[in-house]
Every structure is written in C-alpha cells, then in structure tokens.
C-alpha cells in the first residue's frame, strides 16, 4: 500500500456545520488541530480555510470557533431543526 495516493471527496451532509470567511481566515489550521472528531483537513492551497470533509460527523461543540485567533473567520451554524423559539416578555 506504500506510496499509493488516495483522494477524498468532501461529503455532502444534510447540514453544513461550518462557514468560513475567506477574507478573514488565514488558514492557520488551529481549528483542524483542535477538532476531536477530525472532520476538517487543511486546504491543499496554503493560507486558505480548511476543508470540511465529514460535515455529518460534527458534534456542534464549537471548539473550532473558540480556538480561532481571527474573529469572524469561522462560524458554527446551528442546525435549522434545532433553532429554539424565544419571545419578548409582555
């Protein structure tokens, strides 16, 4: 198996857990390194935001966002079905 190249196709999941702002993110990959599920990989082009390869595996704990040194570079998207209702007290 040595030397063999393999390729991955980022999965399309029912949900999109993360959005990156390509203007702010500098591709430092700290979010890749902190993710306990390891669902992100570094972008093949250095300096670009990581690639979400296995979006369905996200735990939605937000450690990737918490560690990011560039505010606004990465956003955790609450699954639509999990949006909670609140209202103003009258």
């Amino acid at each position: 198996m040595k030397g063999k190249k393999i390729f991955i196709h980022p999965e399309t999941a029912a949900l999109k857990p993360l959005t990156f702002n390509t203007e702010i993110c500098d591709g430092c990959n700290m979010c890749v390194e902190v993710c306990q599920v390891d669902l992100l990989v570094p972008h093949p082009n250095k300096g670009k935001p990581p690639v979400v390869v296995y979006p369905g595996e996200c735990w939605y704990g937000g450690c990737c966002v918490a560690i990011c040194p560039k505010p606004g570079a990465i956003k955790l998207n609450t699954p639509l079905m999990n949006r909670v209702h609140w209202k103003e007290k009258t």
């Binding site: 980022p10 993710c35 599920v37 093949p44 937000g62 955790l76 209202k87 103003e88």
Partner: protein, 650 residues
C-alpha cells in the same frame, strides 16, 4: 462570504499503513479525556514514564473538553456541610443500591483536592473577579460559588472551559508522552490469553494509518462509556448521542475481548438526549442542571409554581435552593431519573401532566427576566457559557441572534432537563449505566489493568472522572514501580494488525454508517423497553450473523474511515455485552429500568445484587457481587491510600 468548497483532494497526511511503531512505557493511559489526563498527571508525578493515547486531540477532547459548569460532590471543600461518608451513602441510597460506592467515595473524598490542583494548573475555580460579590451562593472568604443546594454547598459552579487545556498543558509539563489521533484498538494480554495479565495495547493513527504496539507494565482504561447502541443517525452521526461521536465505548469492547468483568450492563434508560431527536442541550428553557432553578411561565405568561417534595408551593426563590424542613440534603432530580427518592427529592416545578390539569397552557417558557440579577447572570453567562457545548453553540449563537436574558422568554421542549421526547425503545446508557467492575485500587479483575471515569460501572460526572482518574493513575504507577515488563505476544499483536487493516480491503458494499444503523434497529427491536429470553436470544443470534457475515463487508477508504469503521465494530461488541447482561438478570428491576416479561416480579430479594459478566475462553461467564461489596468506605479508603493521606496532611 465566499464558499470554500473543494471538489476532490489528495489525502493530506502521509500514509503509513506499512509501518509499525513500537512504544514502551511504564504506565499506559488509554483515552485522554478528563479521567485520562488526571491519570497521566498522577502517574507522571510518581516518577514513572507515562504514555497517553487519545483518539481526538487532548487539548479539548472528550465529554468534558469543551466545558463544565458544575463540579459535583466536593464534600471536603471548606464550606461543605456534608461529610464524604454521608454524601456517598446518600448517592448509593438515591440509586437504590445500584451505585459504585468505591468510585463515588473517591469522588467525594478527593474531588476538592483536584479542584485545587486545577487552579494551580491555570483553571478557574473561584470568583476571583468578584463578579458575584454578595450573592447568596457565594462564600465571601473563599470566593467559591455553589449550585443547587446552597445549604450544604457540595456542588461548585466553575469556569470549566478553562479546564481541559490546563490539564493538557500540565501533562506536557510533566513529560507525559501524548499520542493524539491514535485510536486504541485492542488490549494485549500475557501469552495472548483472555483473562491473563494486560501487557500493553495496540493502536492505529486516524490520519496516517500507522499501527502502534504499546508495551506497558500497567494500563489504565479511560475511554468512557458505550454509545450508539440504540440511537444513530446515518446522515448526522455526530449528533446521534449526547457524548462526542468518537466516544463509542471502545474501552468496553476491548476490555470484553480481554476478559474484563462488567456490572450493570443490563441497565439502559429511555433516551435522555440526542442531537437529532432533541434541541441543543442547555439551550432551551428548563429547571434542571445548568438552568436550575429558573422561573417558568406558561403560554399566557402565568407563573408556574415551584414546589417542595411534598407539593408545598415555595413563595420565595431562595427556597428553591434549600432542602425541605427536616431534610438533610437534596439531589437535583432526586436521584435515579423518573424514580426520585423522597428522602433526597429537591424542589422542582410540578410534572407537566399535573400542570395541564391545573389549567396551565403549553408551551412553557423559562423566564430569566424574573430571576434576581445574580441568579440570572449565574445561569446565563456563567453556567450557560462554561458548561460543555454552550460557549459557542448557545451563549454566542443566541446572543448574536438577539436573545436577551433581561427581555426574552425561552421555550421549553421537554420535561426535566430533556429537550425532546423519545420512544421507549430508543434507549441510551445515561446517568449511571453499567461498566467495568473495580476494586479499591480501581483495578479491574485483570492484573495490570486499571480503569477510571465513565468507563467504570455506575459512574458519571466531571469531578468523578478527575478524582478516579488521579486515583487510578497513582495506583497504576505504584504497581508499575514494582512490576517487571512482560513480553508482548507478537502473534496477538500481528493478528490485531491484520484485523484492523482487513477493513481497508472490504468488499466495499457496506459503509460504517449502514452497519451502525443495522445494529441500532436490531437493538431497538430485541433489547428495547420490554425484554424476554426469546427476544434477547434472537437478538444475539442476529447479532452474531452481523458479526460473521455483514461486518466483514465493511470498507474504509482512508485512515479516518478506518477509525470510524473500527468504532462500529466496537458498537457491535458492546451490543453483545448488553444482550448477554440482560439475559443474565432473570428478574425485573425498577432502578435498573429493566423489565422482563418472563420475569415480571420487580426486585425479588434474591436478585438485589450486581450480576457480573465476562468472557472466559470466549464463553460468557456470569457471577454476582453484593451491592455493598465496597465494605467500609472510610476504612477501606484509608488503608488503600496511606501515602496519599500522608502527603496531603503535610
């Protein structure tokens, strides 16, 4: 904002399928969550070599990696009004005897010592910024903040998002060799024999696919508990359960194969929380846990009364945080889910059914606006914020979307702390489920093998994982200091390597998700709420069929998928443990949430015991242990920890 899509890319890590790394260490810790980090720290302090193997990344991995808002059972903190003995006995009684007296006594006795350690490592455990000065739940001298029972003060509110990075840093400072991204796949026994002394473990790297043989004098299992036995979403596997998705209870599966003894594996409860079945944990209005003891109102804004255990309405918010007259202490929820023990039942709102009968209208809402300012800030900002999975997904996300705790009512979606409903067959190992049997050294039945945290039977909570992790780590180190290395059985290690890599050559028909779905469907049918000999034995036959005929079809394309596939094989083994444990208890039991139609009598006295199971020569062997096998809590603890007590006296 631009899309960052990428169609197809080359695997970004070197592929090392052909490499085997050999690692030798004195103490080997498997699982780098809360218990694992503490075990590593304690062992390293004893001056032995320590290797810590973690599937994710130690800095934030595990159930407690993203945070923790309350530290339970710190009975030796200077403000506590209960002794470790009182508290442990109450915990045992509140779970009708089905509890781990040893591990919870360790939690009560040493949890506070670990908090003080954490502070030295850089964690925040007290209100040093004086944000809550003068609050009813603050001790002005120590600046500790308490939760729930303000009278007895054994649970602390803490800044748990600071904990895991501090632990990881301390591990590195002490020279612990951390192996991140390595999934442990099996235990290695002396002579390769089931039931023999444990001499090491095998692992595989989830990025490179490299195989590792670890040789050790002592091994500590800290891989938490099984998940995904009844609950799984093939599309959104990461949200199938409450715990992180890579925490599949691998330690149970590899322990089972090695001959480790288990207790209480027949206990499962109706689902409590799952991301695909419920709203985000701690992100809805409720009266429990992180949101204790919030005001609730109904659809018309009518205030829902809080009552004591006798149904007397509590007029004053402060009373919600105190035991009833004549009651020594209370536990939130009263102990075992859905069957609270009167002696320990605390204040709460009435059950929804009773509220509806009284004319209250759904939906209900949590009303933070009506809470005293310091309580509101303690719930929204401190606890929602420091609790696991809240800082970004709840506090930041809701705040960005405009939620204002001084203005808004937030909806409730289930009873107690639940934020969703489950069917009776959608079960979970939750609360205090089964796990490994331990003695007063936190040793398992196998020589050289220790366990800590949620991998132990009837175990739960962050402080418990910290205390038992530290305890197991130092006892393992003491053992390792005296023990000699035993040779790894090379044929056992090689057999395991072949098993692991065989998944890369599967026929390609089956993805790991489909296999997991198959298991959960089977378990819902044959091991759901209602159990019987026929259902369980049929379940086992079908499970064997999956093992023999379907599992070998699983196919992984890269090291990441290899890890995911190996996990599902462990889910399969864990399902087998559960089925066998259910077969072994021929009686029904309420505290075990265990109903057998062929043995309908609840709690027949001859079955008030732990039923234990393990593999012996690959056959299931059952045994029993009295519920109070822990013996004298104080006496046994003190005789097993002479050094520790000596150290802590000075």
């Amino acid at each position: 904002m631009k899309d960052n899509s990428c169609q197809c890319l080359e695997w970004p890590y070197p592929l090392l399928y052909d490499k085997v790394q050999e690692v030798t260490t004195d103490v080997l810790i498997l699982g780098g969550g809360i218990a694992g980090c503490w075990a590593a720290i304690a062992a390293a302090k004893k001056g032995v070599r320590v290797a810590l193997v973690e599937k994710g990344a130690t800095i934030r991995s595990g159930a407690g990696g993203s945070g923790c808002d309350h530290w339970e059972s710190a009975a030796t903190n200077p403000c506590s009004r209960v002794t470790p003995e009182e508290l442990t006995k109450a915990m045992i009684k509140a779970h009708h005897g089905y509890n781990n007296g040893i591990s919870h006594y360790i939690e009560c006795r040493e949890g506070y010592d670990r908090l003080l350690d954490l502070e030295r490592f850089g964690g925040k455990i007290r209100d040093t910024a004086d944000e809550f000065q003068g609050a009813e739940f603050r001790d002005e001298k120590t600046k500790f903040l308490f939760a729930y029972d303000y009278e007895n003060k054994f649970t602390l509110r803490v800044w748990g998002t600071t904990f895991k990075p501090s632990l990881a840093k301390e591990c590195r400072r002490l020279g612990v060799k951390i192996f991140d991204r390595i999934m442990t796949t099996s235990l290695l026994s002396e002579g390769g024999k089931q039931g023999a002394k444990i001499v090491g473990a095998t692992g595989v790297n989830g990025r490179t696919g490299e195989f590792i043989n670890f040789q050790a004098k002592a091994t500590v299992l800290c891989m938490s508990r099984p998940t995904r036995i009844w609950l799984f979403s093939p599309g959104l596997p990461g949200m199938s359960e409450f715990r992180p998705p890579q925490c599949t209870g691998d330690g149970h599966a590899m322990g089972w194969n090695a001959g480790v003894e288990f207790a209480m594996m027949e206990k499962s409860v109706k689902g409590e929380w799952s991301g695909v079945r419920s709203f985000p944990p701690y992100g809805t209005g409720n009266t429990h846990n992180t949101w204790y003891a919030c005001n609730m109102v109904d659809a018309d804004g009518r205030e829902i009364p809080w009552v004591d255990r006798d149904g007397r309405i509590l007029m004053d918010i402060s009373q919600r945080y105190r035991p009833s007259p004549g009651q020594k202490l209370f536990f939130k929820g009263g102990g075992e889910p859905d069957i609270p023990t009167y002696e320990f039942q605390g204040p709460d709102i009435l059950p929804v059914k009773e509220l509806l009968a009284k004319g209250f209208k759904l939906p209900f809402y949590a009303d933070l606006t009506g809470m005293p300012e310091q309580e509101r800030k303690a719930i929204w900002g401190l606890m929602v914020g420091e609790e696991g999975k809240t800082k970004i997904p709840i506090l930041k996300t809701y705040t960005d979307a405009g939620f204002d705790p001084e203005k808004h009512l937030i909806q409730s979606y289930g009873e107690g702390w639940r934020s969703g409903g489950f069917l009776p067959q959608e079960r979970q190992l939750f609360g205090l489920p089964g796990g490994l049997v331990n003695d007063w050294d936190l040793s398992t039945n196998l020589k050289g093998l220790y366990a800590a945290g949620d991998q132990l039977f009837a175990s739960n909570c962050h402080g418990h994982a910290a205390a038992t992790g530290h305890y197991a780590g130092r006892h393992a180190a003491d053992y390792a200091k005296e023990a000699a290395f035993s040779k790894i059985d090379s044929s056992q290690a090689e057999k395991e390597r072949i098993r692991v890599y065989s998944l890369l050559k599967g026929a390609g028909r089956l993805g790991w998700q489909e296999l997991n779905m198959r298991i959960t469907r089977l378990m819902q049918h044959y091991c759901g709420e209602i159990k019987s000999e026929e259902l369980l034995t049929t379940g086992l036959v079908l499970l064997k069929d999956i093992q023999n005929n379907e599992a070998p079809q699983i196919s992984a394309q890269n090291p990441h998928e290899l890890v995911r596939s190996l996990e599902v094989l462990n889910v399969l083994t864990n399902a087998e443990i559960v089925l066998n444990a259910c077969l072994a208890r021929k009686a029904s039991s309420k505290p075990l949430h265990f109903r057998r139609t062929d043995y309908p009598e609840m709690e027949p006295p001859e079955w008030n015991k732990f039923v234990t199971i393990k593999l012996e020569k690959n056959e299931v062997a059952t045994g029993k242990k009295p519920l109070d096998y822990y013996g004298s809590l104080k006496g046994n603890y003190e005789s097993h920890n002479v050094d520790y007590l000596e150290e802590h006296r000075s």
